[in-house]
Symmetry: C2
Subunit: 222 residues, 2 copies
């Protein structure tokens, strides 16, 4: 499958590219608003994987070009860029392209991080309003720590919650997720269940901030 | 230490009484609006623990009587009874009594369970407004599944998140929690961080509903 990771030059995007590159044979496209940056990062990922004996061909493109070529488009951008990114790529999407949102809106005050719930109900609901009607949307990868995900020396043991109203699209994203060693995808129903999933991310940061020895926290349901 | 578990006749209250009874030597008081029910349940818990070779003396009382005798009062009642329960016991509380809230407000629709965030910001904030000013309030035990907690045959491996603005009171609740085998208390800061903690409970129910083989789910941060 061809997966475009928009915002694939940093944070959670980088981890997804490296893990899919390491554990699967999916074709990976790194997207960025800056195509030069996308190409540079794609080369870096190839080099990193090559150093571990994994031969890949990762290409970098401007976001819309990456989306155009992909079966699955992951919006690994900050919450406040989600709508703008969708607007920039919507001509390249159709009912055969699955949009995936891992974005979480947060705000910080003196007590820690808080879920900044958008008026639409969730960041996923914002994305749902912004995208063309016939393009399926799935939520996933919200609660994975970027650092641990991108560190291929780290053995993972985390769950990720997957939601969406299109069962076929959700099932494809569940399969893509299960391809990453140590990440267990768990179905959490439809788009209406997004807020509780997105709200876990600030909680993880608060727990890591308050407890010595805990960092790069993910979550396991058991 | 003397711990009163109000609403100790059912749900999460039952599990806390049995686990503290099994794993610690704290003095346990079961509270209920109906003192007869409290006494009957207290006897049941004693019998259950006795059958496992643990001798305890668990007493049942009407809520206010239980609170009067306790150093720590756990409000193991549904969210919509939290304020009423505090009003019924407030004469018996003072600055030496720690109030603990595990309550979560939820609503259900066709998609699943959702966090029903009170106007005050959280159920804990509601409790904070209702209690006497000098009584410290701590949040804990929100995300523990009642069934697994109450089943002494089950080995636990769960975290519980503890929050509150009074550091001394929080530290006492952390210690009480650590006394239960297999429950790791994690500090998650002050009362302002309550909503994200309370919102995890409907998420756990949704995950259990959507994934075969998963039930009685708790959470582990790792």
């Amino acid at each position: 499958m061809r997966i475009a990771i928009l915002g694939g030059t940093g944070d959670i995007g980088q981890g997804l590219v490296l893990r899919w590159g390491f554990d699967t044979s999916h074709e990976l496209l790194v997207g960025s608003r800056d195509p030069e940056k996308a190409r540079t990062k794609a080369e870096e990922y190839e080099t990193e994987l090559d150093s571990r004996g994994v031969e890949t061909s990762i290409k970098g493109f401007e976001n819309a070009m990456a989306a155009d070529r992909a079966d699955v488009v992951v919006l690994a951008v900050p919450a406040y860029h989600v709508v703008g990114t969708i607007e920039a790529i919507e001509d390249r999407l159709d009912s055969e392209t699955i949009l995936v949102t891992p974005a979480v809106g947060m705000k910080r005050d003196e007590d820690g991080f808080h879920y900044n719930r958008p008026g639409a109900g969730s960041v996923a609901a914002l994305a749902d309003e912004a995208k063309p009607d016939d393009v399926p949307l799935v939520g996933a990868f919200h609660n994975l720590p970027a650092g641990g995900l991108a560190d291929l020396d780290e053995e993972l043991e985390w769950d990720t919650l997957v939601f969406g109203d299109d069962e076929d699209a959700k099932s494809i994203v569940v399969d893509l997720t299960a391809g990453i060693e140590g990440i267990r995808p768990l179905d959490v129903g439809g788009l209406a269940n997004a807020p509780e999933v997105e709200a876990v991310t600030p909680l993880l940061i608060n727990v890591a901030m308050q407890n010595k020895g805990l960092h790069d926290l993910g979550v396991k349901f058991q």
